[in-house]
Amino acid sequence: MKKIQILSIIVLILLSFISKAQKPIHVKTNNYEGYIFSEDPIFRLKASSHSFIPTSNEIETMENKISKSIWKLISDYEKEHKYDHCNIQNNLSTYKRHYFGYVDNGEKIISIYFFNVVPENWDKGLFMIYDGGCSYFQMRYYMKNDSLDLRAIGFFP
């Protein structure tokens, strides 16, 4: 019994190590392209949360949802903020993505950063842009409810 416990701990430590050492995963289809990051210092996780790596199937499900929901999301956002400058809906495939998965209160959430001005090292880690206008926006995808939340669109400085 004790041996099994020790073995379990070793396996857990190894899994934890493998997870932390995970390189960004490149995903590319005809409709979207991005990187999945398993850990990044820029993403502030609460102490009670932890990260997870979404599978390519989960990303595909989410992207399908985004594709179907983008018009309503943008429309609602514009109504709330009286903001009507961006034409993200018709240009969604031109935006690259960064994906970061985390578990908050037992719920899996994927944070997505969209950008259509692509820095050279975009495959190295997450970045945040303030005041970049329509070129940058963020979303959250709540896997349990299959729902999306459009976060900030870069305002004009």
Partner: protein, 465 residues
């Protein structure tokens, strides 16, 4: 270097006090801090290296209510001396090397309150009359006790040789702050800044003596090579401070003075953009940017800012982007890019507003990223953790800090000797970048229109008008 040599010092009487820092402790601290056994001085002009180290045998201690200090002469294999241009000219004219005298010492300072220890190099440069009256001896001055009639400059460099801060003295009293500038910056500083501050440069005369170590023995050659270099500084008649080393760069990540923050945590490539450079240095030199950031966060700023000018593509509908702030946790610096098209067309007050706006984003974000290290507090914690706020930074700026921005822009204008600007301009400009926030949407449509009109006007008024 004649009488300017740092190898023959008269050690002033130590101030007897309960000094908790002994010479041995200072030496241990120094040896544990330095990765190499020596301080290396490198000439930027002649590419020659000089090795220095503290002369512990001649170390002495002093104290006041705040600090315990150990001070030592510096042993150097070259002689070097800082002099004002006036002293340098007199030295040549009268063939008197004494005019080239300056005094550099190694100082270890322990803060009595927080026990923080820092080491640095202090250089004392006397004004010409003072040097002459003292027969070219500066040794009556020490870190905690300056001569009653000392007139001149005290410069502080860290142990890597980087200038940190400095002070101007007149007749033993603090009269101003000294800042390092580069020669090309000196010619393009704003008129008002130039009136408040005066550019000064010091001639550094270095006598290099070739040497080498063979089989552990030091061989010094009899030939020598004298070079001079010029370093530009400015001094401003602002006496807030204690005349000491800015103890915020050698380990404390939050510089507590504007000059220290500007020196350690900001850099730019504005050399090709004189107008933007003027605005940038006015915001830094007048403490406006530091004060704004400090006001927002309630503490000294921590973000390291790297400023650029570049062309930023328009939005898909053709709208111009004025600037953007790029935060990448894999880089120490946060990059702020000003759109070249914007700076070519905007007024200086508009550009100043944009720069402050972006610096605030940088500071907020740095705090947010650091949250695991230092928990967020106050408004930032409240807004950043709000699930309902989709754009917490702009919401926070628009709801809490419009007044601070207004005061900051007025202070910027004051530094440019502009005192008659219509207050409406400030009222309008502070909303720049905050369209579509809840607070903006609560303004009446008429007010929104008039503010937008003024903001647009300032964006197209012309460079630095």
């Amino acid at each position: 270097m004649g009488s300017g040599t740092i190898n023959f010092l008269i050690v002033p009487d130590p101030i007897i006090s309960q000094n908790s820092l002994t010479i041995e402790q200072a030496k241990t601290w120094y040896q544990s801090t330095k990765s190499e056994p020596f301080i290396t001085l490198k000439s930027s002009k002649a590419d020659k290296i000089s090795i220095c180290d503290p002369d512990w045998k001649k170390a002495f201690t002093s104290s006041n209510d705040f600090y315990d200090v150990v001070e030592t002469p510096i042993r150097s294999q070259t002689h070097f001396g800082f002099s004002t241009q006036e002293s340098f000219d007199l030295s040549k004219k009268k063939n008197e090397p004494g005019y080239l005298t300056s005094l550099s010492r190694f100082v270890v300072q322990k803060n009595r309150v927080n026990q923080h220890i820092v080491g640095f190099i202090m250089t004392i440069i006397g004004e010409t009359d003072y040097l002459k009256s003292k027969k070219f001896r500066l040794t009556n001055n020490s870190y905690l006790k300056m001569d009653k009639d000392f007139s001149g400059y005290v410069l502080y460099n860290d142990l890597n040789g980087k200038f940190v801060n400095g002070w101007l003295y007149k007749n033993g009293k603090l009269s101003g702050k000294v800042k390092l500038i580069s020669p090309n910056q000196s010619s393009i500083r704003m008129k008002s800044t130039a009136e408040a501050c005066t550019d000064v440069y010091f001639v550094v005369t270095t006598t290099y003596t070739p040497w080498e170590i063979e089989n552990g023995e030091l061989y010094i050659y009899s030939s020598y090579d004298v070079t001079t270099e010029t370093y530009w500084y400015s001094y401003c008649y602002n006496t807030s401070g204690d005349g000491g080393y800015d103890d915020t760069l050698g380990g404390d990540p939050t510089p507590s003075s504007s000059a220290a923050w500007a020196s350690a945590q900001t850099s730019s490539d504005f050399d090709k953009w004189p107008c933007v450079n003027e605005i940038y240095y006015t915001l830094l030199d007048s403490d406006v940017m530091y004060t704004i950031l400090q006001g927002f966060m309630g503490k000294s700023p921590t973000a390291q800012l790297n400023w650029f000018v570049d062309i930023i593509p328009n939005n898909v509908n053709g709208d111009q982007i004025n600037a953007k702030t790029h935060v990448d946790a894999h880089s120490t610096y946060i990059t702020i890019t000003l759109n070249q098209n914007y700076i070519d067309s905007a007024s200086s007050i508009s550009i100043a507003r944009t720069m402050l706006h972006e610096a605030i984003h940088a500071e907020f974000t740095r705090e947010w990223i650091n949250e695991n290290v230092v928990p967020l507090t106050g408004d930032v914690a409240k807004y950043a953790d709000s699930a309902s706020l989709k754009d917490w930074q702009h919401e926070l700026m628009s709801q809490k800090y419009l007044d601070e921005m207004k005061v900051g822009l007025q202070a910027f204008d004051n530094n440019c000797n502009i005192t008659n600007r219509d207050p409406f301009v400030y009222d309008a400009l502070v909303w720049g970048g905050l369209y579509y926030t809840s607070a903006w949407n609560n303004l009446s449509p008429a007010l929104q229109t008039s503010y937008q009109k003024e903001i647009n006007k300032q964006q197209t008024l012309g460079g630095c008008k």
